[in-house]
Amino acid sequence: MDLNFTPEEEAFRQEVRAWVRANLPQETAHKVHNALRQTREDMQNWAKILGKKGWLTYAWPKQFGGPGWNAVQKHLFEEECALAGAPRIVPFGPVMVAPVIMAFGNAEQQQRFLPGIASGEVWWSQGYSEPGSGSDLASLKTRAERVGNKYIVNGQKTWTTLGQFGEWIFCLVRTSNEGKPQTGISFLLIDMKSPGVTVRPIKLLDGECEVNEVWFDNVEVPAENLIGEENKGWTYAKHLLAHERTNIADVNRAKRELERLKRIAKAEGVYDDVRFRDEIAKLEVDVVALEMLVLRVLSAEKSGKQSLDIAGLLKIRGSEMQQRYTELMMLAGGPYSLPFIQEAMEAGWQGDQIGALHCAPLAGSYFNMRKTTIYGGSNEVQRNIVAQTVLG
């Protein structure tokens, strides 16, 4: 048993670190480090830079052009990106729909869609949740009716993250009402420029429009855009969830943000307040424990052993961590977290500061992070899953 990475793993880390720091635009890193507003360009530019290197597809199988990294290498890459202040990779294309196209799509679909995803040129959105179908996703109602060589799609998706930038959307749609709800769902790829597709932003409590509603009004979708077989969509979507992703714990970002919390606490004069410092100390231990949990999962994957079956724990704990460090940063700002100056969220804003500049985004981040225990399978649902593994 050994805590440390091997010399080969450390060498890999250094290689990735050097490349990231040389290629990540400084303005983008500055925004990420300071929780300022990222533009579409910040995110897509980085995706294209990664795409050129062949690293946007860092988790893809070799046969589809992935670099063939093992679990530890992927983790080190994620860590170096997070520590350097790289924007989080927009996952819908490279992480969510691509594996489904690779596993269940036909050769024509793979040729048509994968290159655009791999290069970062095409922005994908996810069409899963609906107003009436959140945790109970299988109850979804957006209908796709087969007419000749097309599907006619009618319905509404919600919580579509960054859908305002989306060019293509992958949707779970209902193609049958017979039997259990899960067995009437299909996986359909839809061009968002199609007539009948309307994207409406949803303003969140932090004042930003991170998510959208997407309306489908008699949208015509070529039948060639159906992935696999009709009514098998649910199993394709679950396929994604079957693979443990330690990234879900977001521990690399947690480490970066804990360091930022300490800097802010020092700047605001609360680091020497014993009570506040103790709260940071608790979080310090929580981050170490979460990282150890992630390393244990990685070690099991690396040695080809059966996975530890604790993915649910990673999501629950990781999301609680995200909420706690944003909360403590806001509390460190104290009264100076209260002014809500939207312009101050732009990098390089030179206006009238109220308190330190680092205070401007703190409350917004805290408010925004309330979503983390809700999305991706709410923590209550995750607890159901964990309980199943323990109680049977």
Partner: protein
Amino acid sequence: MDFNFSDDQEQLRDAVRKWVDKGYDFERRRSIVAHGGFSREAYTELAELGLTGLYIPEALGGLGMGPVEGMVVMEELGRGIVLEPLTQALIAGAMLSYYAGPDLQEAWCAKVAGGEALVVLAAQERKARYDLSVCNTVAQKQGNGWTLSGAKSVVPAGDLADAFIVPAKADGKLALFLVERTASGVTTHGYLTQDGSRGAELKLSGAPAALLTLKGQEALEHATDIGIAALCAEAVGVMDKTLAITVDYMNTRKQFGVVISSFQSLRHRVADMKMQLELGRSMSYYASLKLNAPTDERRAAMSRAKFQIGNSMRFVGQQAVQLHGGIGVTDEYIVSHYFKKLTQMEMSFGDTLHHLGEVSSRMQDTAGVFA
């Protein structure tokens, strides 16, 4: 970066697990408690497995193993809430092997390894709580030797031990000494402790002692950290078994026509217990893997681990009782004994609040396992 156990470590685990499963059931434990909380016979059985010499080098008569082996052994003993304090043998073995001179090593190492000598750390003082620098026991030079005067509390199996490792101030500086129980000026008063194990008060009035090391502070901190790592591992075993007992009960006990494990609020409680168990296990690995780190790094790591373990033990213990309903608070049923063991470990080697203070005061700008 590898958390797999070697084949030898798995075999060691199997050997201890077999001994606990076959030779130390709950009835035997209850009988040991009824007879004072320590069985010399059981301790000898641990010695026959080689466990009392785990941290003593082979050249000195032990097995010459390291923290990961210690972790594996303690976890298995924790599953059976074994009363006999193997942690003390680990501490004594390490102190004698790494800090004592050759004379003391020759006199004691083989006997500790063989189980003939039970040597325990007698460090707790009335005014000290968990502060290792507070020590009112005084060492006086007497000819070529020393005599000790002072009092130590809650010494594991103190009235039955063969010798004590005693911190005392020599010329105002902390040193460690070895005192035999049969020496003059030594009186002990034994009692049961909350988890059923044996403890004792130790009074020293000019008791003859052998100097173990003048590097008292360093050695005592090291001894404490060995104890913490062992305790964390033991706690994982206790919590693992506590959860298993609880799961069995919930899948059996019926109310309102269904097993109580079907109630969602209770299922979520179990998920939270599993979370605490795995966080605790993760930090137990961390503690054992940091046991040979440089002093400051080691001390910080042990405090982080004990803080997590403390929170985990409290939650798992309290909820296990809760989920059992009424029988959870009886003496007859097994789970209250696991809960009391977890509770006792909270107040051993520094409690959660104490270690929070340590983590807080040792905090650096960096974050994470490798920081």
